[in-house]
């Protein structure tokens, strides 16, 4: 398997009045070419900061990558100059965001915004770039694409804006597409359309995707492998079927049990079942976490969990987990 991205011990911190926020604190994972990797976690777990770090979009006034390495096709990204980084961003690695309205320029037409990216990265004339923009709109299945080229973002619906974002992101055939909550702001029937489109284009173009979401349903339906993050740490990583069938980390297990589901038949029969809660809340990241970040909320917590950070172990091939009490957790499930 050849990896397009290799991330090792990435740490991105923010320096605020309240202290240092360790948003990402030692995260490692690989992205194989053409695969879809999910990063799942709750607000503040560091999933978006990981994505922004890969693209070097952390604002230097507030934070920076303090350590670790990000290798793209063998090239180290953390030490590239801004100029070199600009030639990669939007070209070989591109990104789509949750709210397309805030990432599209309201005073430029759709066609201009797609063509702009193409001209920046490819040796094409403006009219050739506009032709390519037209092709891209057809590719993302925007009807009446010729007319849409001349429209402005406010004239489009939320679903169409997200299609335009995808068209811009894919216009230079990137190797990696990072999608940060791409369907969270959309209605469920439109979400189904957009996710379907992304997977179809991935097959067609061979782009590897990092799908960042809090929604385990989206993870289950779109990804092949999943990284679970909690409080700036990676706590578990596994192939998607394995993760849903045999999650090993108490946090992952808790998440899977806490979601109400549309497919469970049990609760239809009788009384409303109580959802399993994860007690407590996510820890503040302004204080350094000694030990396991999940320890204060964990039912399996032992003295060691509060004192020492658990290392990532690989109890099954391809399935890694960071938990001191893994054996007890697995026994409890059996």
């Amino acid at each position: 398997m050849n990896n397009v991205l290799e991330i090792r011990d990435l740490a991105t911190h923010f320096f605020t009045r309240d202290g240092v926020v360790r948003a990402v604190d030692g995260v490692s994972f690989d992205l194989a070419s053409g695969e879809t990797l999910g990063i799942v976690g709750e607000s503040g777990c560091g999933k978006s900061v990981t994505a922004l770090s890969i693209l070097r979009l952390i604002s230097p006034e507030t934070g920076r990558i303090v350590s670790g390495s990000i290798r793209f096709d063998g090239r180290e990204l953390t030490t590239l100059s801004d100029e070199e980084m600009r030639s990669i961003r939007g070209h070989q690695i591109s990104m789509i965001f949750q709210e397309p309205m805030t990432s599209l320029n309201p005073v430029l037409t759709v066609g201009t915004q797609i063509a702009e990216n193409i001209v920046r990265h490819r040796n094409l004339s403006w009219s050739a770039a506009l032709d390519r923009a037209h092709e891209m709109l057809d590719l993302v299945k925007i009807s009446d694409s010729r007319r849409r080229l001349d429209e402005y973002p406010h004239q489009l619906s939320g679903g169409m804006r997200q299609r335009v974002m995808i068209a811009i992101a894919l216009s230079c055939n990137p190797r990696v597409l990072i999608a940060d909550e791409p369907t969270t702001a959309l209605d469920v029937t439109i979400q189904a359309q957009i996710l379907g489109l992304m997977l179809e284009l991935k097959e067609k173009l061979g782009t590897a995707i990092i799908m960042i979401t809090h929604d385990l349903g989206v993870i289950a339906e779109t990804t092949q492998r999943v990284v679970v993050m909690y409080a700036g740490h990676k706590v578990e990583e596994a192939p998607v079927e394995e993760l849903f069938a045999r999650a090993m980390h108490p946090y992952t297990r808790g998440l899977l049990r806490a979601i109400p589901r549309t497919d469970a038949d049990a609760e239809l029969a009788g009384r409303r079942r109580r959802l399993q809660e994860i007690p407590g809340i996510v820890p503040a990241l302004t204080r350094p976490i000694t030990g396991c970040p999940f320890a204060p909320r964990c039912a399996f917590v032992a003295a060691r969990c509060r004192a020492e950070r658990p290392p990532l172990e690989e109890p099954e091939a391809g399935h890694t987990v960071a938990c001191w009490e893994m054996r007890r957790v697995l026994e409890a499930a059996a």
Partner: protein
């Protein structure tokens, strides 16, 4: 008319006029276009639909935060529709709301204790020491600490703020709570805590919930009966079990099939992906509002507006292809 129902709504209509000017006639948005339902004590009625379907407008109208264009609203058997704000006041206590984003609905300059205690004073229920004691009890009941009363909203996490919002709604002993997307802004692990709290409180106080959400999984968890809305109208209305096991309206079927299932083994086996988007409520399609997106539409659907009828006991559907007593088997696409 009976008091079996805490909240009863008949033919509720709310139109907004938009645009318009000196020479231009304003256009009508039929945000809610003839909606009827009743909620019994201790019951949760779920109102589900996508953005713009009118579900939030329904919630504002039943609270009389918006005046209905026509229709009737009965609160505990009392017709409150004609009441002006003054006359409405004694009845306001009976129906309270919990909002989606508790942060924007809590006054940042008031302490948490003052926020929750305010309705008690406003309605003359308790004051002074008695009020403080009731507030402390409410805090504990919703899973906050009594000493948290001195904190301000920004010192709480999202889930705790939603607990505050619930404590505030609960403080005046309402019969009905309108919960408008109460867990949509919360993280998964906290969402479960808040849903469990809402269910426990309902069982304890026999509260009626009008529960509004776009999330079918949440809906399935908390509701007893569910109404599916599309462009201002209820298109299907039945008990939760029937809705999920035997949806009859094509829109319900599409909604259920579009919801991502958190189980990779069940990956999109038979997905109905709807084409197109929800049309503008300014110019709703003729006939059945859903016909341009409906895979089963007949020519008649373009011109005939299907009424919501009871096709099987307790199962109401507005679809020409679902006549009373008809075969509930899945439809076959037209063409």
């Amino acid at each position: 008319m009976s008091e079996r129902f805490s909240l009863e709504v008949t033919d509720l209509v709310k139109h907004f006029s938009v645009g318009g000017g000196l020479l231009r006639r304003p256009r009508m948005v039929r945000a809610v276009d003839g909606v009827s339902f009743a909620i019994g004590r201790g019951e949760t009625l779920g109102l589900v639909g996508e953005s713009g379907c009118g579900k939030s407008t329904v919630s504002r109208v039943v609270l009389k935060l918006l005046e209905p264009t026509s229709g009737r609203i009965l609160l505990g058997g009392v017709d409150v529709t004609p009441f002006r704000p003054g006359a409405m006041w004694p009845h306001r206590r009976r129906i309270q709301i919990v909002f989606q984003d508790p942060y924007s609905s809590l006054n940042p300059r008031l302490s948490a204790g003052a926020i929750v205690g305010e309705p008690l004073e406003n309605f003359g229920i308790a004051a002074g020491k008695e009020k403080d004691e009731r507030v402390a009890r409410l805090f504990e009941r919703v899973g906050l600490h009594a000493e948290d009363t001195r904190k301000y909203p920004h010192e709480f996490s999202g889930g705790q703020r939603q607990r505050l919002g619930i404590a505030k709604a609960l403080s005046v002993n309402p019969d009905v709570i309108v919960a408008d997307e109460p867990v949509s802004a919360l993280d998964v692990s906290v969402r479960a805590q808040v849903l469990n709290l809402l269910i426990d409180l309902q069982d304890e106080y026999r509260l009626s919930y009008l529960f509004i959400s776009h999330d079918l999984a949440v809906m399935r968890h908390v509701s007893h009966r569910i109404a599916v809305m599309y462009l201002g109208r209820i298109v299907e209305f039945t008990d939760k079990r029937t809705l999920f096991s035997q949806p009859l309206h094509p829109y319900t079927e599409a909604l259920l099939s579009a919801a991502p299932v958190p189980d990779p083994a069940k990956k999109k086996s038979r997905r109905v992906v709807l084409q197109g988007e929800v049309p503008s409520a300014l110019q709703p399609p003729s006939g059945c509002h859903f016909h341009p997106r409906c895979p089963y539409a007949l020519p008649a659907c373009r011109s005939t507006d299907p009424p919501l009828i009871e096709v099987a006991p307790g199962h109401h559907v507005a679809c020409l292809r679902r006549p009373p007593g008809g075969d509930p088997a899945p439809l076959t696409p037209s063409q």
